[in-house]
Subunit: 192 residues, 2 copies
Amino acid sequence: MSAPSGAGKTTLCRNLRQQADFIYAVSCTTRTPRPGEIVGEDYYFLSEEEFQARIEDDEFLEYAEVHGRKYGTLKATVFEHLKKGVDVLLDIDTQGAAAIRSCRDPFILDALVDVFIMPPNIEELRHRLLRRGSDSEEQIAVRLKNAQREMLRWKEYKYTILSGSMEEDIAKFRSVMRAEHYLSRRLSLDLA
Amino acid sequence: MSAPSGAGKTTLCRNLRQQADFIYAVSCTTRTPRPGEIVGEDYYFLSEEEFQARIEDDEFLEYAEVHGRKYGTLKATVFEHLKKGVDVLLDIDTQGAAAIRSCRDPFILDALVDVFIMPPNIEELRHRLLRRGSDSEEQIAVRLKNAQREMLRWKEYKYTILSGSMEEDIAKFRSVMRAEHYLSRRLSLDLA
């Protein structure tokens, strides 16, 4: 799942995680924790050096730099669950999603379902970021500029959900998750 | 939507029709009405001659012969609603679905979402047909044979739903209908 900063992605993911039918892939970041964030639940917080070492050991499924900080998903986190047949939810930016789309692992590509959450408009995004109160005016300006650039990439995703209320977004996202399970190409039936 | 005889397709369609977000395409048939069926709601009942005349006038989107009776969907029924942006549900057999899949109308092909309802097993089908009580033993044998032949064609469909309870089948089918609306290729967004 990708969504521009402030589109409510974090809250959406938090709500989805409480529903037990998939696993949230906790990602790694070099940014500093925000108040209330829980280590190993929201993120694994790594130093620049630790992150760099894992890049060199080819441990990331994808990683990207956003707002000057590194973010990445470890292969181990994703494979562990997919191999058990459990869906894995990634909260990922457009760069990260593009990296996964261009990976060559047929196992990953087959499991991939990319969903873009499109926020109502830039004004609404600005309000949400202001309400959150964790960014300076300068940081908000950078986030909005990045958000606008990200919003142009919705067509790269198989699905695009126009964000409404949190309840609507959850219902829409879950419909996509369910429907993908009914694709005939994902089924193997023995009718003999 | 296709499903072998007795998979509960008619009841499923009837339930879905009560939910107002799409239109059921009433099809034409040359078979005789069963007790309780309503003309223009369950089927349009046509004579062999009337049906044949409409075939000759190229009025059918698809038609097929099943158990010695003709069934078909009029183009007018489907186009009328699709052009208004309303989803249209077709209760159709595997022959009919194949006919639509191979039509050359890009408007139809773009709108097409084919879903196969897979009944639990042949024994359960036999029980359901017996319970329905509208067929002779000979007719049931024919229906079961056809059902088995149809069940082998599930892979032709984009989606296959393994039939559970009626409520589960409805929820699954509606997830598919919703998710298809969120496909990026179906959206046109103006972000300027």
